[in-house]
């Protein structure tokens, strides 16, 4: 059974939010950090309190800390040394492993996430944009009342038009794969991989391999915690639309090309189940929209190209021990919507997303290194993930087609990493323990 009254809500639930704000903080001293944390900790929802109040609640708060942040709050060196190496180093130091090179290199990140003084992140999600304005004020006054706790940077996020469901700036429907974890009360939808062991995502529980092992210490700090990889990914909407126009003569061809890059139609309908024509009804049906595999259904990639985004970030039955590499994804869009007929306006827009997992190296970094940015994934030779892989204009994208495949060369970068960091997301008891400084 999971400690639903202790696990931060975001691990198991999505808030019904249209808006939000991420704040990146630094503490000048342990006292400053603890004072701030003590004042905020009661606002953090556990899974249980979140579920109980979901009908009326207007805002949801999540707190997480970098390794430097745990130190800043006074966690002792012996305990700090028990955290995994990759978390201690931080995301920027792992750039080469993650494929964050060229334009994606941390030297170009814009939000201060490479600052060693980055200690904490506050994720505020609100039911409406108006609610955000209100609760943002509350966070600001709380911060003002804790001298020595400072705001390094912030990012506002919100749902964008035109669709009534979650989607990114390119128009791709999001939030289609929802993992179900044993003991969470959630039932898996067909194709989402069955019930997954909680220890793959939450520390202190059995994982796919067996009983919990090698957890950070002390136990009060690690139990019910998880690791969080933050990625701010700019989406170059103008460039994406130009690319579709250049490589597709008709709107139908352009739409099919967009689908081939992703592995799903922009509506969300999976190509494996709807290879020739979009099927929005299929996309809307959670019992069907994820119910497919590759080994039998599409071994050569005639529906979903072998290098398409969804085939890389979740290779389903074509990867070994897939359940050791699953991840919980959360996030939202930031920046203004670019209407279909509008030219690129050079404003930054994109997705600010999180990956939640028990092991950054085995889950998040594995996906980046082995699936997304390995040029030779599935023997492709000269490709990376066409949506979120590191692209420098020299790689290609192959679309298996009968009788012969289509190869698009010189694929441009549709996205650029603009920030990122690793955080530890403690349970509620651990937050209190950190605040008390015992």
């Amino acid at each position: 059974m999971l400690d639903l009254d202790d696990i931060q809500y975001i691990l198991l639930n999505r808030a019904p939010a249209r808006a939000g704000r991420y704040e990146f903080l630094s503490f000048a001293s342990a006292e400053a950090g603890r004072a701030w944390l003590s004042a905020l900790v009661d606002q953090v929802h556990s899974v249980e309190t979140m579920r109980a109040s979901i009908a009326d609640e207007k805002r949801w708060v999540t707190l997480a800390f970098t390794w430097n942040g745990l130190r800043a709050l006074g966690v002792d060196e012996a305990a700090l040394a028990t955290f995994p190496e990759e978390f201690r180093q931080g995301m920027a130091a792992r750039a080469e492993i993650l494929g964050d090179t060229g334009a994606n290199h941390p030297d170009h990140w814009v939000d201060g996430t490479t600052d060693p003084d980055l200690h904490a992140i506050v994720l505020l999600f609100t039911r409406t944009v108006e609610d955000r304005a209100h609760y943002q004020e509350e966070l600001a006054s709380l911060l003002a009342a804790s001298p020595g706790a400072e705001l390094l940077s912030a990012l506002d996020v919100e749902a964008i038009p035109p669709f009534g469901y979650a989607h990114d700036h390119f128009g791709y429907r999001d939030q289609l794969t929802n993992l179900a974890i044993e003991g969470s009360g959630d039932a898996p939808t067909p194709g989402s991989g069955g019930l997954l062991k909680p220890g793959e995502f939450i520390l202190g529980y059995p994982d796919e391999h067996g009983p919990p092992a090698g957890r950070p210490q002390p136990e009060v700090l690690s139990r019910n915690g998880s690791f969080l990889a933050y990625r701010r990914l700019q989406e170059h909407v103008g460039k994406f639309r130009e690319f579709l126009a250049e490589h597709g003569e008709t709107p139908e061809e352009q739409e099919l090309l967009a689908a081939k890059l992703m592995g799903r139609w922009r509506s969300g309908a999976p190509l494996v189940l709807a290879p020739d024509k979009d099927d929005p009804k299929l996309a809307d049906d959670p019992q069907r929209n994820n119910d497919f595999n590759y080994k039998q259904d599409d071994p050569f990639g005639y529906a979903v190209p072998l290098g398409a985004h969804i085939r890389r970030v979740n290779p389903r039955d074509t990867a070994a021990s897939i359940n050791r590499h699953r991840m919980i994804r959360r996030g939202a869009t930031y920046g203004p919507h670019l209407p279909d007929d509008a030219p690129e306006d050079d404003q930054e827009r994109g997705v600010a997303a999180f990956v939640l997992c028990a092991s950054l190296i085995r889950q998040f970094e594995f996906a980046q290194n082995v699936w997304i940015n390995d040029k030779n994934f599935h023997e492709l030779g000269n490709e990376r993930d066409p949506i979120i892989g590191t692209q420098d204009g020299t790689l290609e994208f192959k679309i298996p087609t009968r009788p012969i495949r289509r190869t698009i060369t010189g694929l441009p970068a549709f996205t650029t990493v603009r920030g990122g960091a690793y955080f530890f997301i403690p349970g509620i008891e651990a937050l209190r323990w950190l605040a008390a400084g015992d």
Partner: protein, 175 residues
């Protein structure tokens, strides 16, 4: 390809999740692990040979996640002590599939061989870092590697054989 002492080209070291990656050569990726066995455990190694043979017979694709060309297991003696050499040739850097390899070897029966080596970490099943560390510490990098069909992957070879087979079937159909 001649390889500098230490196994890396100093100006071109790529980093994987568990540290620097040994370079790909015309003979693909690979390792040569040399380690002393715990005295008196020779039979455990020979038993491992039979176990693995059976595992592959029962499930021919059991080692597929490792993207292998060849594996060779050798026992030899130096001054009355028995050493083990384990040489693998594969298509992806070892770093990429470390956890998958650990998971695979952890499956009962396949694991025994490593546990009979001196200094092998007792907690290796839950500690991939320690596993990698042991492999790195006992890896003897080549100073020269050659491939008669350079840089060709096992998958390409399997595809070529499949094409050859299908082509002869096609010719049969035309008789």
């Amino acid at each position: 390809m001649a390889i500098p002492e230490g196994g890396f080209f100093p100006d071109d070291v790529e980093y994987g999740r568990y540290g620097p990656i040994f370079p790909k050569t015309p003979a693909c990726y690979g390792f040569t692990i040399v380690a002393k066995i715990i005295p008196g455990r020779e039979e455990a190694f020979r038993e491992h040979g039979r176990t693995l043979e059976k595992a592959v017979k029962d499930q021919p694709d059991i080692l597929a996640p490792l993207e292998l060309h060849y594996l060779r297991w050798v026992l030899f003696e130096i001054k009355g002590e028995t050493y083990f050499m384990y040489q693998g040739i594969f298509d992806t850097d070892f770093d990429k599939y470390t956890e998958d390899a650990v998971a695979l070897f952890s499956q009962s029966g396949i694991s025994t061989v490593f546990e009979n080596l001196e200094g092998f970490p007792a907690d290796w099943k839950t500690n991939p870092e320690a596993f990698v560390e042991f492999v790195r510490a006992h890896h003897r990098p080549s100073f020269l590697e050659y491939g008669e069909y350079p840089y060709v992957s096992a998958d390409e070879i399997k595809k070529a054989l499949r094409v050859k087979h299908l082509f002869s079937q096609m010719l049969d159909q035309m008789q």
